[in-house]
Symmetry: C2
Subunit: 392 residues, 2 copies
């Protein structure tokens, strides 16, 4: 036996001995030991990050992280724990996963994860020297509520509700509402777990930059939920359907939001119930749903935020001609039309065309072009930039 194996063997025997002692001591544990404790990710003081993954039998393990351009090879060490230290990494929250002999896995040692219908990724939080806008700080915190509501076609829908700090302590105060929709294959949890929308709002409200508001995070894939609960053929991949079906799905979403979500929210929470106190925003597909829902229901929303998304000039002319043809009226009605995108986003070109379309027709809008791509690092930025503008 190699000496490392001997050490490992002794450690493991010792582990079982300790386990026996622990049981005898009257402390009750969930399961017998499952191998060595793996600490991952470990963010170091110099902003480098050490990732570790236990895989004694693997031939190749690589780190795939959104702050790296390509997967980074990891090295096998004691007890079959693979590791790599990368960076320094620019402070932010990044999705990552491991490629283990070509298989993509989340980090089993990390509870922070990316809720999604199609892929599994973990999250690493590299803190700034001064706290970033999404950092957990010692300020009053709002809460995030998981709710069920009576949804489209007799189904039960689910959504998350952020209530701002003080909501429960001021039982007569009413609040404006921001409806915030995540992207394709995201779930209603993504703006909470990945976007940290609650902490961003807690911080901005504490600094007096953002008005206290309620934020509603609905689930974007209404069609899938209807089939799940009512039976029928599972909808084909939303990313590969033809235009007509995709438009129908977007319209179903708008109907559910206007006819089911809003009435439920306004019955269940202390809300200000008029267009001046309703905002809508979304990322990617959720941005498309935002623009369609807002332009199709101009009596409902006065504040509109499109993050990394657009409607094409053709679609604008076909479905929402009044937006561009009567810009005076549009500008009177919309207190904010926000469009932002990253310069490396694969939707950059379409988004710029959308802005050009608005500009040519003298529709007022605010825009922000950031570095980076179609990422939740950018979404957090957009939320932090736009929420101070709402309801002011």
């Amino acid at each position: 036996m190699h000496y490392k194996h001997i050490i490992s063997y002794v450690l493991n025997r010792f582990r079982l001995l300790l386990w026996g002692l622990v049981c005898l001591s009257g402390i009750v544990l969930a399961q017998p030991p499952r191998g060595p404790l793996v600490v991952s990710p470990q963010v170091n003081a110099d902003k480098t990050v050490t990732f570790r993954y236990l895989a004694p039998a693997a031939k190749e393990v690589r780190l795939s992280a959104q702050f790296e351009k390509a997967p980074v090879p990891m090295t096998k060490g004691d007890q079959g724990i693979w590791s790599v230290t990368v960076g320094p990494v620019k402070p932010d929250i990044y999705p990552y996963s491991f490629q283990v002999d070509g298989v993509t896995v989340m980090d089993p040692a990390n509870v922070a994860f990316f809720p999604n219908e199609r892929f599994k990724a973990s999250l690493v939080d590299v803190p700034g020297d001064t706290p970033l806008v999404h950092a957990m700080r010692n300020v009053p915190h709002g809460s995030v509520n998981y709710e069920y509501y009576p949804a489209l076609e007799g189904t039960t829908g689910s959504l998350l509700v952020y209530t701002p700090p003080g909501y429960d302590q001021n039982p007569t105060k009413k609040y404006p509402v921001f409806y915030l929709i995540s992207g394709t294959t995201d779930t209603e949890e993504t703006f909470f777990k990945v976007g940290r929308t609650n902490l961003i709002l807690d911080n901005l409200i504490a600094e007096g930059k953002t008005k206290p508001m309620i934020i509603i995070m609905p689930y974007g894939n209404i069609a899938a939920r209807v089939v799940e609960q009512k039976g029928g053929t599972k909808p084909a991949d939303p990313t590969v359907r033809d235009g007509a079906d995709a438009v129908k799905r977007a319209n179903d979403f708008a109907t559910d939001l206007v006819s089911h979500v809003i009435p439920y929210v306004e019955k269940s929470y202390r809300t200000l119930n008029n267009r001046d106190n309703r905002a809508i925003g979304g990322f990617s597909r959720g941005g498309g749903q935002t623009l369609r829902t807002a332009f199709g229901n101009m009596d409902k929303f006065a504040w509109v935020c499109s993050y990394s998304s657009y409607l094409s000039p053709t679609e604008m002319d076909k479905s929402f001609p009044q937006i561009g043809s009567n810009a005076d009226n549009t500008n009177k009605q919309l207190k904010l039309l926000w469009v932002s995108v990253g310069s490396d986003d694969f939707l950059y070109k379409g988004t710029v065309e959308f802005m050009d379309y608005l500009k040519a027709r003298k529709v007022s809008y605010k825009s922000l072009i950031t570095d980076g791509g179609h990422t939740w690092m950018n979404v957090k930025k957009y939320v932090a930039e736009t929420t101070p503008l709402l309801f002011q």
Copy 2:
């Protein structure tokens, strides 16, 4: 090219064409297509379940599910999608994962997951012919709130709060509170996401079997959180520490619960603030924490539920001698002392010893021995059996 490869090639080209059309139609999507849509798990009408996993390059894929005694080989099919149909499966919610060339992965196609610090698993829900006690039914629903509170040593703690249906509609009504603690390596989300405690309560309350109550789900691993936020050495694996450290951790938990969680909850929610209206329960390590916290704070809790856990006779005599030596007083104080365990649970023997200890000293308790092991299928049963007894 084999004909299957030709079909796959054509399908993929077609996918890209459709993707182009979708973009042109003005529908905005999160990302370019990521390969074929995989539907998994698919629960069939006859209670068989089909699992699928996309892995064109894998050599061996197996299903590891808590309703199977051993991993089940899966078969590679079109487009590199591995699949297997198993069952019929007894209706319940089961954790499962895939073993892909020896690597454990969650099901990427499934958003239902098991929150845990050490492993990653997905969840499959096999419905009953009549709805099971944890089923989503058309009854009034409570909500689950994610909250932050000022915790031990100046840290920020997190917990989940179930408020029953009608909580927001009756602004003067006050409720009893059940503190419910999950097991080793579980998180504060496990009783919600795996235990479906909210839906069990919604159903039992709708049937008039259980009193409306608030349920608090704290995080059990307080020591780890303190180190995370305050710095210092990451605690060693809680499953391999010696008895004294484990007792210290349990005591830290009790201190945090009594000195921080309870005051926060009673300030933030409409609670009935006396021992007759406080219950405490937990699974596995959470059951051990329950017994220690309750026996160490007899002025705080009158209802105590230990699920698959125990304190040893030695520990009882050493730390809580008054429980057994003055059974009359114990019986007067505790309106319920519940102990349950599965007959295949690896903690079965210790739990029976604990019951024998209580019996020999004439301490009253209710017990339930179920089939099965140290599983969340059993935990759901115990929650459904005990919550109707509380506060009655």
